[in-house]
Symmetry: C2
Amino acid sequence: MSFVSCLPEPGQRRPPAHHPGVFLAGEGRGRRAVEPGYNRRFRDTTVGGFMKTYRVGYLIGSLSSTSINRVLSKALVMLAPSDLEMIEIPISDLGLYSPDYDADYPPEARALKQRLASVDAVLFITPEYNRGLPGALKNAIDWASRPWGQNSFARKPAAMIGASPGKIGTAVAQQNLKSVLSFCNAPQMSAPEAYIQFTPGLFTDTGEVTDPTTAQFLTDYMDSFRAFICRVTAVLKDSGEIEAAA
Amino acid sequence: MSFVSCLPEPGQRRPPAHHPGVFLAGEGRGRRAVEPGYNRRFRDTTVGGFMKTYRVGYLIGSLSSTSINRVLSKALVMLAPSDLEMIEIPISDLGLYSPDYDADYPPEARALKQRLASVDAVLFITPEYNRGLPGALKNAIDWASRPWGQNSFARKPAAMIGASPGKIGTAVAQQNLKSVLSFCNAPQMSAPEAYIQFTPGLFTDTGEVTDPTTAQFLTDYMDSFRAFICRVTAVLKDSGEIEAAA
């Protein structure tokens, strides 16, 4: 097996402390402006002399043209480590799933499954609708999970995050999603959890994070997801399960 | 307020014991053939000299042309007390909900909300997809719950039932639905619960129930739902909340 270390070496995980973009993590710390794009430029999680880029497909649970979860997705793309290639997997063009299609999927559903097959991991960025998943997102998951024996999520590392104007920050929808992804046999990152309260001004429309604490949290979140993908992928490769699940 | 007793008087709830259609309730009892349509003909839940028919809209969570939950719906229509008018509310023609439509709903979504407004109660008959609600059903609920302030489920008595080939009989999907309907402020019948294992031959394609124990259970279920609707409606009428919620 090839060897890819899953954890950046000490000192490589963050820019040096004197860099002007540095801020401190933790709630209640002072707020400083975040230098746009600093993560992409200064972080380098390549280790062990072996560059491995992971392709992460992300699904946005809202179809709204003013979706705050789409704004959050922009922030996550900017803050992700440079070796995560972030690719949106659209869900808005899908019809409603019916088992009648299992024998012959329509083009939009085939495209969804092909896109999922082409990525190493899946990130769900979703609002909560009526204390559950948005129907549109669950519909996409239903399509992807079928036909029987061709579940696109099997052994695919997954994580979830969501933004809401309210304080519980999509926590109930995420609990729902955990149940669904568990059945779909997707290894899920269980920590850190991310329930984002989308307060006015916290993000710009283009996804810049104005609050350093939040920016640090989201940066750590994406770093953790990268490490999770790396661990799951290494284990699966070692056991030959990636090939078996493909 | 007008008075409608919610419980049939003793002796009116079941046909007389010597009637050939009678069977015994409870698991493990002997099985006898059920006379087709006997419930409609012999049960009469009209009481107190005041006939009240309740309109029950039912949503079938599966869009499959061979849906076992559609078969179950046929059984429930046949076994329902004569004063429940059962009306299917279709969900298959809806597009995917987006908040962008809140200002101007498309015709299919307006029709959904009009149908829900025209019924006294809602019955969900649904499969479980990936340990959750089918996306198509959740999508219909999302449409119905919006726009903000025009939630079609507010104060609408609701119940749920589901059939599955497996033994847990949609229990997880129903738990999901309970969470959603609770947020939607629909009073829910919490007992009896109904998790139906759809074993081969248990129902004919037209919804006749071949097992007397199951037929009795479903009959009791629909009787209980009628009583629940009556209780909730009486309470809401008494407090003026039906008018307030309308």
